[in-house]
Subunit: 336 residues, 3 copies
Amino acid sequence: MALTIRQLASALELEYVGDGSQEIVKAAPLGTASKGSFAFLRDASSIKLLSETQASLVILPKEFAPHCPSATLVSDSPEYHFAQALELLYPRPRAIEGVHQKAVVASSAVVDGTASIGPCTVIEEDVHIGPGVTVGAHAFIGKGTEIGGSTQVYPNATIHHNCQIGKCCTLHSGTIIGDDGFGFAEHQQGWKKIPQIGRVVIGNYVDIGSNTTVDRGALGDTVIEDHVIIDNLVQIAHNVRIGANTAMAGCSAVAGSTIIGKNCRIAGGVRISGHLTIADDVFLTAASVVYRSIKKSGSYSSGVPLEETRFWRRNYNRIKQLDKIAKRLFEIEKNK
Amino acid sequence: MALTIRQLASALELEYVGDGSQEIVKAAPLGTASKGSFAFLRDASSIKLLSETQASLVILPKEFAPHCPSATLVSDSPEYHFAQALELLYPRPRAIEGVHQKAVVASSAVVDGTASIGPCTVIEEDVHIGPGVTVGAHAFIGKGTEIGGSTQVYPNATIHHNCQIGKCCTLHSGTIIGDDGFGFAEHQQGWKKIPQIGRVVIGNYVDIGSNTTVDRGALGDTVIEDHVIIDNLVQIAHNVRIGANTAMAGCSAVAGSTIIGKNCRIAGGVRISGHLTIADDVFLTAASVVYRSIKKSGSYSSGVPLEETRFWRRNYNRIKQLDKIAKRLFEIEKNK
Amino acid sequence: MALTIRQLASALELEYVGDGSQEIVKAAPLGTASKGSFAFLRDASSIKLLSETQASLVILPKEFAPHCPSATLVSDSPEYHFAQALELLYPRPRAIEGVHQKAVVASSAVVDGTASIGPCTVIEEDVHIGPGVTVGAHAFIGKGTEIGGSTQVYPNATIHHNCQIGKCCTLHSGTIIGDDGFGFAEHQQGWKKIPQIGRVVIGNYVDIGSNTTVDRGALGDTVIEDHVIIDNLVQIAHNVRIGANTAMAGCSAVAGSTIIGKNCRIAGGVRISGHLTIADDVFLTAASVVYRSIKKSGSYSSGVPLEETRFWRRNYNRIKQLDKIAKRLFEIEKNK
């Protein structure tokens, strides 16, 4: 695929400076780009790379344009327009419309004629698959589930019964949506499973990563609002609600019934206990553990520093004495 | 599905107070229940909700019955009886008996006539599938594995060769049972894999969550005893033993050869090192890291508080100075 | 399977002491071995078990041979030779060569005649499968991916398009290779997905555990070098590079663009942030969190001690006061 700078500028609705007839054939990072490549500059941190770039075209904020040796596209959101340009230059191959002959589709399922259903896919009774949906190989869609238009279900994803998936979502491989929540009643004869009769309801433009699990609700639903993005190996327990536009990075986890606000950013490995409320616009740094509700937007952290093991050991043991150390200090202060 | 209060009481073997002819058609939380719903009250913490509930029936401990505006079922274990009532009102659709024509079942496999084998399921040689077992779509059962009666294998679960699964278990989607343990010998030419010739042996009434992995033993077996419940994305390494009735929440992990006692409760995100022994009746709070054996029952924790990031930074850096701080304090005390 | 001690010694190219005509039929740990078993001794820590062992043969370092009541094979690498002996005594059943009739293989895919392709496997256009490769049931191999000779893809593994997998690798069940990295541009209308056009490139003799995810690169590639071993439920984000011979234990995770050196050992549950560089020969102890680059080889740790919850609570709260405690201490010192 090749586009001239003029074509690219026109498609992105941006203005270009430089020779519009040059052909762009690939994308590359600013520092390693060669002739025929396009790159982007987000902010001043890469300004040195910019002055030396071999890229034929750079998408960048206006103020950096004078420092660029090549043609430019000026943008307020360079990364956003870079993503758009990638879509144009690297178009995703259109999945073949229709149902693969090795798919197993129940007679009462309604599959739009423009949807693509891959080989060995299993679609149960009363499922609705919208227009332009792609369901990859080995995916499973349980009874009564609805999938909105243009959503992509990657190979080997599993979606259980009676769930609702919005439009333009991407469910990656190995993701499990709507399996039972971890609900058991204690009893003399051992744990008694509580039937999980709620659903998973997922909005539009939601992205859920590989091998992530989103459990169905116990009574009510587990809800993931529009524009939420979730990375790999994340656990969303039953009856959790994730507010619109929130991002959760890999290996994070949320226990049952916790409500997370809108526009939150949850870094990798964060753990959030159950039955909490997290406000809008909360940022949790990597590997934080959240035991309490957060009522005010802002950045929150837990965790301790990494040290060479031999130094760490000394401090590690002092943590067990911390309360005593504090009290002995207060004693000295009192007696002064 | 609808049942009268009288029918429900009779099925649950509980006594009711109120109009036994009322119809119950659904379940709901105490706070949002409407006419025709049943709910339950576990303890005094929800007593305010009880007095205002619109539920037609509440399952509750005897002492709270006088505060209930609706009909009641008195129970010592309200959550347990609530679970039973859910089973009656929301019966799980019976899977169709027999082997789906798109399943691949080896000729030497023995599948009970009352079992249900889903589409695209692969069952290898010498497998034994007991009565009433359900094996969902895309599941894989390796050579020689035995699955006890009434166990449910959800779509897309993988069970490797020569494993033994008891009766009345549930293995959720994406769970991997009996793949190789992480055993390698160091060698000049790189890591040499040690063949993992043990098995996974799972008792009865065990529940294993989505995308959880239970590795086979190196020489002996990995063992999960009766009534153990394990949530999603949990790692059970080779030669681990989990004692009866223990519960492990999401994203917890146990390294190789560790023995965990009975009736333990392991909260979400807990990490337990290898070659340890954990006593019976141990409770580990969320995200604890266990480096040493625990010989005495009780509750154990590690972890540090969540703070606003700007405050956290100050304390974070002090942890590296903790040993020095302690020594300086002791010096002051000595010189007083 | 049975071998005499003489046959075993000859196959392993080790010298034996004792009756070479004895038959060895199984492997066992030193402490529980019985007649007909072989075991191994790694070091002095199990010397007591050695003197009482019932094993018929023990593989051990030279200096311990005098303490062994049975026949011996002397080795500098007892665990390595034990692994070799296991391969001989417990040969893995050869998968049947050829393509299972229930597999779905695209017409342009090139599958070596000695490869084994299991039932319900889906292999897309332009895939290359080398000699002696085994692809288990339900595996998915995306368009254009190449798999080197003798590699084993376990049942239910998913490998996306245009990836490159070397020779003699093992990709365990549920592993997802080459799904999209977690790359999104912020925008007023919500997160805009950045197409991930890089690949995953995996060297030779690499082992990747169950339900582990390795994302494809954004622009460049995600690279896993030769002889790397990775356990279960591990997250490798886009554009990460893992150096040769490095080992990563279960539930560890590496965020995007981090470069990890050779011969590192990353214990279970370790979290490594993005855009860092970790030197060669770094050891990270269990559940460490790495926020900064590590330039010097050595052992590093973070984490706090496990305590009984009632004691932990006291120290836990003091961590929030740590900066103040330190300053009050310094104040006292100043005023002395």
